[in-house]
């Protein structure tokens, strides 16, 4: 018995007990992170850390601030539900610094078929094409505006009666040319076609205005030398004008 009346053998036991408890508390303070257990069996501040991750996709609304023309066109079109960034890739950087980071545009023929390539597993109502046979060799944008992908149609005024020609032309290299580029058509032809004739090209120069090597038409148009090419024959003796082909 000591002064306090505690049995002597208890004292060392008590000291050990205190040390063990202190060690446990110290270990707990060391190993259990600050906010652990605040809302459950986890570190509450982890939630905050995860929420502070950087945003990469800005969202389609964000583009409206600067590209409102494209935004509105698209909003009215079949692509209204296709997000800008589904085609242009993530653009949060671009919004912060429009001149430093410009998004790319999928101009090749490979991208659109990710959505539009024929695949029997797709819902059958979805517009699909066979990329191998659907106007091969030409970029999709030549015929379809990516921001308003209406199906190209020959102007109704001609195709109402010349459907076969219009159908052929619209999938040809001349798809983008209006009928009136080559034909001068008086308005009465549309009403009385048998009496008022439409004009047909009469000379090689009609084609040469775009295809002659000296013409100032857009650069992507293939060129020939009108003086020598095909001798003096009319162009359409060798090339069908509504579906021009080369080779053979």
């Amino acid at each position: 018995m000591n002064k306090l009346g505690i049995p002597g053998q208890i004292v060392p036991l008590a000291i050990i007990g205190v040390v063990v408890i202190a060690a446990f508390i110290a270990a707990r303070m060391l190993f259990v992170p600050d906010t652990f257990g605040e809302y459950g069996h986890y570190r509450a501040s982890a939630v905050e850390e995860i929420a502070s991750q950087e945003i990469v996709y800005a969202g389609h609304e964000a583009c409206n601030d600067c590209h409102d023309d494209i935004f509105e066109t698209k909003q009215e079109s079949k692509h209204r539900d296709v997000s800008c960034e589904a085609c242009h890739g993530p653009a949060a950087d671009h919004i912060e610094a429009p001149d430093e980071f410009t998004p790319t545009a999928p101009r090749g023929r490979g991208y659109c078929p990710l959505c539009h390539g024929y695949n029997p597993s797709r819902p059958s109502g979805f517009p699909q094409i066979l990329p191998k046979t659907h106007n091969p060799g030409k970029a999709c944008m030549t015929c379809h505006d990516p921001h308003s992908p209406v199906l190209p149609h020959a102007p109704e005024d001609c195709s109402a009666c010349h459907r076969d020609i219009a159908n052929v032309k619209q999938v040809s290299h001349h798809a983008t040319l209006s009928c009136r580029t080559c034909h001068d058509v008086p308005d009465e032809h549309l009403i009385q076609p048998k009496f008022v004739r439409a004009e047909k090209p009469a000379n090689r120069e009609r084609c040469g205005q775009c295809h002659d090597r000296d013409s100032d038409s857009p650069r992507e148009i293939p060129r020939i030398n009108i003086e020598t090419h095909g001798e003096r024959n009319l162009c359409w003796e060798c090339h069908y004008p509504h579906y021009p082909e080369v080779g053979k």
Binding site: E38, V47, E49, A51, P123, F126
Partner: protein, 258 residues
Amino acid sequence: MIDNNNKPVNRRGFLGSCSRFIAAGLGAISVFKFGGSLWGQENGQYNPAEHNYAMGIDVHKCIGCGRCADACKRENDVTREPYYFRTWVERYVIPSEGETVVDSPNGGIDGFPETVDKNDVLRTFFVPKLCNHCSNPPCVQVCPVGATFASRDGVVLVDEKYCVGCRYCIQACPYGARYFHPESKTADKCTFCYHRITKGLPPACVEVCPTHARVFGEIGQLSSPLRRFVRFNDLTVLKPWLNTKPKVYYAGADGEVR
């Protein structure tokens, strides 16, 4: 009647008001210390307890373009190599006879170039997959350290700093929704883009989905697009017999989808 203002202070009353004062002070301090630390200033208005997130997936609308899987990787900096996905698209091919075939080349990111031969196929469709954010998550139950958890707004998250990389949770997930991140050496998975949804933006996969095959929203909110989705569709969840109570609801997924 006793006038409160002029009431002489007795010992009992004095001690009572002192303890009330101290309690109120402690309360204020704890609110300041813990409540204030979460969601810093910029996020002051966001209260996780007011939200309960979920996703709807309409199998009939999915065209298998894989834009979701691509956007997810870009948004969340997931390793580009195949086999690491937070979300991916599966193609189901159910033949007239024999076993159902399921494939997911690179998660669908490059499309599904090898199309199936239509002749002996009964049905074929695409099914987007992701973490189901179960209300009863087996992955959380098996985590030995409390590194994965269900947040108060109903999202199952991984604490990257606290995860010890034991992979129990990857084993425990019946949906294969978790993977082992090769760089951080921790478990990783879909967060519903927690950093976006807490700021009012949809998850990246929903942002880029062209056909509304993915619908994101809140279970409890009347104005949420998810409510309409739930109202107009017959819904199923994946592997309901496991009682995990998923919060990703599928419309048009028949019994073959698992």
